[in-house]
């Protein structure tokens, strides 16, 4: 009976997640690869890890996943805290700050390009004052990429974190205050630890969704290096090299899985240290 109840969900996961992943893994090993003879091989992985260009691509993919996550977190936490309070115009603000959620990533990239590129809108506005923007598009540190991706991620993160903060019982905060803790101490020592599972979940989701980012780094990223997602597209679509593209996809998925495992270990240890049961 239990198996039957699980069947729709498990079947969906197997069919639309497990099967494509398995096929991609086999393809990365030369089995059933589109446009190539089927023969077992490790050469795609060897090529991926022995090429300095692709290794740089892997490192850059991690960088443009991690940096926007950290920047978003730094903005989303204060924003989520602010959303707990009442202030004039809060309802309007609560609607406006969510706008990036519905804006496609490619549109966000064009917005950043129009604003921050050399000769862009901000450059022209600053020009009369003798000021000049640093290079923010095609720059070596991918600042434009980080701005665009963080802009997209902040409301998503803030929503989750605000939800987590809202579950912290008001009695606990009041108790902390009556015991002499200031607002900051109450936040840092009571609210933040209790909201940590929500905060880490938000960070994890943003990181994982950023690992495969394509449009934003393609438009705003540096000339070199390029993230693995772009190499993946080029190998598949330009070179018809689906074996190597599959290997790249598997490596990107593996990076996301490693982060997922790290997340579970972290939350488990935090939970244990807080005296809760291990999950």
């Amino acid at each position: 009976m239990l198996l039957m109840l699980l069947a729709p969900g498990a079947g969906y996961l197997l069919l639309f997640f497990g099967l494509p992943l398995a096929l991609a893994f086999l393809s990365s090993l030369g089995i059933g690869t589109i446009g190539a003879d089927s023969a077992f091989t490790f050469r795609h992985y060897v090529e991926l890890f022995t090429s300095s260009v692709y290794r740089d691509g892997i490192a850059f993919s991690v960088y443009i996943s991690l940096a926007p996550t950290i920047v978003s977190l730094a903005i989303a936490i204060p924003l989520a805290v602010a959303l707990q309070a009442s202030f004039p115009g809060k309802r309007l603000f609560a609607v406006l700050y969510k706008i990036p959620l519905v804006v496609p990533a490619i549109v966000a990239a064009f917005v950043v390009m129009i604003l921050f590129d050399r000769g862009g809108m901000l450059s022209r506005m600053l020009l009369p004052f003798g000021l000049q923007l640093p290079k923010l598009v095609r720059d070596d540190f991918a600042i434009g990429v980080i701005i665009a991706m963080a802009w997209k991620a902040v409301p998503f993160m803030a929503l989750i974190i605000a939800g987590a903060l809202a579950t912290v019982p008001g009695d606990l905060k009041a108790a902390a205050r009556t015991l002499g803790a200031g607002r900051l101490a109450t936040f840092l020592r009571v609210e933040l630890p209790l909201a940590l599972p929500g905060i880490t979940a938000a960070a994890l989701l943003v990181f994982v969704s950023s690992t495969g980012a394509f449009a934003v780094p393609s438009l705003l990223g540096p000339i070199y290096p390029r993230p693995l997602s772009i190499w993946m597209y080029e190998e598949a679509m330009h070179e018809n090299n689906w074996g190597l593209a599959s290997a790249m996809g598997i490596v990107l998925s593996a990076v996301a899985c490693v982060i997922l495992v790290a997340y579970y270990r972290l939350t488990t240890s935090v939970h244990r240290s807080a005296g809760g049961e291990a999950r």
């Binding site: 260009v53 095609r138 438009l219 070199y224 330009h238």
Partner: protein
């Protein structure tokens, strides 16, 4: 090497390569496409007598356009074709690379092709042909409307010899654009040394498209190879028998050293961009005053008001490579008669001249009366005709370009 000698060598290389049969012979005894018409009996004399009634019986064709800005052009062409022949054209704007993968997947699944005629990206011809999705119809000789095709564009796509199975519908030319608001016409950089001097005197004002991200960049790299590699290395640049391994060895050796040295010297002073449009956007913003471009893109951008009319294009005096994108009929096409008729119409005087006047794209047809089609407004937006006649060159072998691009990435972009 003298330009004419090089071009003659190139033409000879193409002819030898085709006759050597290293690719599937065009017009082979057995075509790889099924059709209700007898393709073996089809010739330029009976072309219309056979195809027009057959195409009308088929009723419609499916046409894929991979271009990003030719929708209006094709709307007009299709309108005229439908009026002339009474055959409906089902038009789709597609992503070129994805459409090729769609054709390969359909062939692997033994399904008919979803399209009858496909204007495709030139860089995909090798992949498509090696996957067997292009019909081996001798389009370079069988279309009565185009008896005067230049040999290289009719048989080679991005340095890959297909032998004539892709019709050179659209030709384009890499060029150097310059902003006459900042540079007095006549004093623009005309050679590689002048470009270097300009870049050093005007840091970040010269935009070069990353050769791995856009054709105007890879065309510039090829142009640099033609201009700067030693004379004894140049014979292999149009050697279509070159294997990828031989091309890698060529690119790894001393032949490419002067080219890499040039880019190393110029790199600190230039802005590499993420694509052809990215380069033109920098010009539009007034941040770049000289840039590597496609002639027809500049033509199109000025026409649409995306670039100011003060932007002009020219060719470097060492010669610059040109290219193009062709149309083909997939081997799994269902409406072959209609597709051939439409292909013939695309290559006709009427459409080739119309396209030139609207999109600024050159033609592979050598017998066209170009002067009659060019209005002063069109001429202003194109590379000067004398420069085109003197300096335009075919692209070099694709395998060399790929190998050179890989070395460019590790040596210039990665900086190792």
């Amino acid at each position: 090497m003298h330009l004419k000698t090089l071009l003659l060598a190139n033409a000879f290389a193409v002819a030898s390569f085709v006759s050597a049969g290293a690719v599937e012979p065009v017009g082979a005894p057995d075509f790889n496409i099924a059709s209700s018409i007898d393709l073996k009996a089809l010739d330029t004399a009976n072309f219309y007598d056979v195809l027009v009634p057959a195409a009308k019986a088929e009723g419609e064709i499916v046409f894929y356009d991979f271009g990003e800005s030719e929708k209006d052009l094709f709307a007009e062409i299709i309108h005229r074709f439908e009026d002339k022949y009474g055959v409906k054209v089902d038009y789709h704007q597609v992503d070129g690379e994805q459409a090729v993968q769609q054709l390969i997947a359909a062939k692997q699944a033994s399904q008919p092709a979803p399209v009858d005629i496909f204007w495709m990206p030139n860089g995909q011809v090798r992949v498509a042909n090696e996957s067997g999705v292009i019909a081996n119809l001798p389009l370079n000789t069988m279309l009565p409307s185009a008896p005067d095709l230049a040999e290289n564009p009719a048989t080679v796509s991005r340095g890959y010899v297909h032998g004539g199975i892709v019709a050179p519908f659209h030709r384009n030319q890499t060029a150097i654009a310059y902003d006459t608001r900042a540079i007095e016409p006549g004093s623009e950089p005309k050679t590689f040394p002048e470009l270097l001097a300009f870049a050093k005197a005007n840091p970040t004002k010269f935009a070069i498209t990353n050769p791995t991200r856009g054709g105007s960049g890879s065309g510039f790299l090829e142009t640099a190879i033609l201009a700067l590699s030693p004379a004894d290395c140049q014979t292999r640049l149009y050697d279509y028998t070159l294997t990828p391994e031989e091309a890698e060895a060529w690119a790894a050796g001393p032949c490419l050293d002067p080219v890499m040295a040039y880019f190393k010297e110029i790199r600190p002073y230039v802005e590499f961009t993420n694509g052809n449009s990215d380069t033109l956007n920098l010009m539009a913003n007034g941040q770049a005053t000289v840039a590597t471009v496609w002639e027809d893109m500049v033509f199109d951008f000025i026409g649409r008001g995306l670039l100011p009319p003060q932007i002009k294009s020219r060719l470097l005096a060492e010669g610059e490579v040109g290219d193009g994108d062709g149309a083909m009929i997939p081997s799994g096409a269902q409406h072959v008669a209609g597709a051939l008729l439409f292909m013939d119409y695309l290559m006709s005087d009427e459409i080739q001249l119309y396209k030139l006047s609207v999109n600024g794209s050159r033609s592979a047809r050598t017998g066209l009366d170009i002067a009659a089609a060019l209005s002063p407004e069109v001429v202003e937006r194109l590379v000067p005709q004398d420069q085109y006649d003197d300096y335009a060159r075919p692209r070099i072998v694709g395998t060399v370009t790929d190998a050179a691009s890989a070395r460019f990435v590790t040596e210039i972009l990665q900086g190792t």
